[in-house]
Symmetry: C2
Subunit: 507 residues, 2 copies
């Protein structure tokens, strides 16, 4: 098992000795968690199931953070909750591969550049915990002083887990009823294709792409539901069985956290494409593709990604998003460029010519130390899929905020985000004299940028947070996103997806 909160974490010393808050300010009580449950198509009928999973993940992670847990603890715990929920395509309830086996991808990365990842690994109920264990062990030699790996795959990862006394279970224990049903339908679809092929009818794209295999999806992404192409319309004469609709398209999940020590972590987990090639590794296992964190001390950005994996690898899309947002003064514009230019525009000379239609959802968190002990935390997301399920919770929130961001009009692109200013405390014995307060000038930029809906409150000398609302949602070329969860509040700044309300910020 990965080190749990109540055990002595081997790297606890790392987190408590290398503290970000070394600028004369401190804030022992501020932490936050952000999660997503995949980009794709979430039916309105099942929307609440996805958002409930996100809420539960936030609450569990926040409990850990408030108990002194690290950002890696929080990311692991949030993703464990999502993995244990059969509604998500990770852990229990993952898609099955072509052989009917769950093969998990997961990765985690922290502020210190430490990473842990597993790919195409069977028999693991909580892939993120095995990835996290690999991260923890990466700073210590293995038995007999062998080099500790940071990426282990397939049966080798199962052996590694056994060697580390990490639970290994049977495949059947991870296969959810819903996953089994999806698999059976895909198998029947394939049998039908084979029959058609033998009759000389099937296997031409015009015919096979028309199967309403994922009928409920107006634009499912391959990563999410199936390795088979998306349906475009129903054909007359489709076999009875195949007319049943799937209500949900599930996908890679991810989480980003900042802990009270000021450190960041990000992680992803996925069961991958349904009916995938056994051994196929997707972006959720790949540092720089599905998960990335960049931290240079005064500024840090984490990104997790969901979408059509085979289009992501050559774009190193999470690292690209991190770099753009790290340097950006306008994070929403940066997110648009990542999706439109870096991802959809591909990187190659001409187009990459990779089979299938690309689609993506990206979630990023950026934290910057400003002057006078102010710390600006910005949350940015973007997607060109039908929907993207997100949630957040900070240590000053009483409940998680959730959003199902939706867009349906072509060309599909939605970006959104929010930001919060955290006022840090003076340290008892500040080693470095705080500089003059130049924050108001600095914030003026954000004020403009984010269509701030509420005026700044006067800064407090008291511990916690002086509220800043910087909220914005830009559904350029798309429909306005409607917060559909009961606990996601809409404000006057244009369909804010996740609100940090000022009242709660004062708690």
């Amino acid at each position: 098992m990965a080190p749990r909160l109540n055990e002595a974490s081997p790297d606890q010393s790392l987190y408590t000795t290398i503290r970000r808050y070394s600028t004369g300010y401190d804030h022992p009580d501020y932490s936050c968690i952000f999660v997503h449950a995949g980009a794709g198509y979430h039916s309105t009928e099942n929307e609440q199931k996805h958002l409930r999973a996100c809420r539960n993940a936030c609450q569990a992670a926040m409990a850990a953070l408030k108990a002194g847990g690290t950002s890696t603890d929080a990311v692991e715990i949030a993703i464990r909750v999502l993995e244990d929920d059969p509604v998500t395509n990770c852990g229990y309830g993952s898609n099955l591969n072509f052989d009917g086996v769950v093969e998990a991808d997961a990765s985690i990365m922290d502020s210190f550049g430490r990473t842990g990842a597993i790919g195409a690994t069977p028999q693991i109920q909580n892939p993120i915990s095995l990835a996290r264990l690999i991260l923890e062990r990466s700073s210590q030699p293995m038995t007999l002083k062998r080099v500790p790996p940071n990426f282990v795959v397939g049966e080798g990862a199962v052996d590694y887990a056994r060697e580390q006394r990490f639970p290994v279970i049977s495949n059947e224990s991870i296969v959810a009823h819903s996953a089994r049903i999806r698999f059976s339908k895909w198998q029947k679809e394939i049998e039908y294709q084979e029959i058609m092929k033998r009759r000389g009818k099937g296997m031409d794209r015009s015919r096979t792409t028309d199967f309403p295999l994922l009928g409920a999806s107006t634009r499912p992404i391959q990563e999410a539901g199936s390795a088979l192409p998306p349906p475009t319309r129903e054909l007359p004469g489709t076999p009875q069985l195949l007319e049943q609709k799937f209500d949900l398209v599930t996908d890679t999940v991810g989480a980003i956290s900042i802990d009270r020590y000021g450190n960041m972590a990000a992680g992803s987990s996925s069961g991958g494409i349904g009916m995938k090639q056994p051994g196929r590794v997707g972006p959720a296992a790949l540092i720089g593709v599905g998960t990335f964190v960049k931290d240079r001390g005064e500024r840090q950005v984490g990104t997790v990604v969901s979408g059509t994996g085979e289009h992501m690898l050559h774009t190193l899309i999470s690292s690209q998003a991190v770099n753009r947002i790290y340097d950006a003064t306008d994070e929403l514009e940066a997110m648009k460029r990542v999706i439109n230019d870096d991802f959809m525009g591909s990187q190659g000379y001409g187009k990459a010519n990779i089979w299938g239609e690309p689609a993506i959802g990206i979630m990023s968190v950026k934290a910057e130390n400003l002057t006078a002990g102010k710390r600006l935390i910005s949350f940015v997301f973007g997607h060109n899929t039908d929907s993207f399920a997100l949630a957040s919770m900070t240590s000053t929130d009483t409940a998680p905020k959730t959003i199902m961001s939706r867009v349906s009009r072509e060309p599909k692109l939605a970006v959104g985000g929010s930001s919060r200013l955290v006022q840090m405390q003076m340290k008892v014995n500040p080693e470095e004299k705080p500089k003059k307060d130049k924050t108001s000038k600095r914030l003026g930029r954000h004020d403009k940028k984010y269509h701030v809906s509420q005026a700044f409150k006067s800064e407090k000398k008291a511990p916690l947070v002086s509220g800043l609302e910087g909220l914005h949602l830009d559904n350029r070329d798309g429909e306005s996103s409607e917060p559909s969860s009961s606990d996601s509040n809409k404000t006057d700044c244009g369909g804010c997806p996740i609100e940090f309300s000022d009242e709660e910020a004062k708690v």
Copy 2:
């Protein structure tokens, strides 16, 4: 089998329709190949074996290029030659993992952003060819229209190979005698450690790191030889068996090619760390870490990397090198920054705290279209290991050039490179009118930068190359690199590693 030259390659149309030379100029006869046989420590005794392997790789690849092969063909063929040579740690002769099995990592990427990779894959004699097959198949749906993967690992990759009728052989067929001897010694070392442990003596770092397991290496890198820590000095009382020296430290190999169509490809292949964790995936399998190509039409950069894999993942080092060199006006300085800042400086807040000592060798090729049909091709490398084995061959060379770049003084860092100007031909029916020749001004920069040793020749109207020598080697803080191969010529520009001599360029 991956598509061979004499077969109709499924993407031949891609290469011939999307031609780089669409600016009014053409150059059907210019192509080049660059290979490395790893960064680490190569004993002077065995230096010629490594360089011979590199020469053979260059010659085979150039034959393919001259026959109209693409850059992916050339990279695949060059690496196949290195894989088939037992002196290298890839293909036949790879290190064995902890269970005595060869598990291969390989990746390939082209100008179009297409990728193919396998990780921790047993029973494959030529891992690069399976990776290349995955690349080729990435633009076509699999059987039953499943999404084609671009990264397959472990036993799943073996199944994939079988399904694609790619040769799968027994593990024993890939295990070279030398690899078996290394494995046996490591096993005995481990047994010795276990005996010591039982006696309460071993397992402390001070003792075990002193074993002269890789005795010939003054600074072996873990990736190269062993998962065990490098020796620092010999202890008295070392068991007799362990006193035998290994003469060579082998490592990841790589190749970069530009074909007559102006397209680039890069690839890597490795057997990984000796005694590695089964299932461990190293950088040679990872796009962005071990292999990367960026191509925006007028400019293209490819990079392949060799070194301590576990330190590379979080730095995405090949992608980082590509980006720096792409933007650089001084490529050698860019290479220094990649090694010193991006790799050795790590990226995390504080240091990444990954076990072991980082070491790296990087090889990059950059091609830029200048005005008036001139094309500048620059070759840059750097390493902070004891040695780095490299070779190159262009279509105008009569024989490959090789170099064993060495550095021994601390702090170890060697960078070097060369550049060549290719004069393109006017097309018969140029669609675009060539602009006025501003090249001389542009070249002035390179003239300065690269300590150019020979004056430019006047441009020729005849097809081929007008020679430019831009050669430089900067062994800052290190010893001067001595070209030690019989066919690597030293020039007057300060220890030039690989010379493009003007006489040969005129051929």
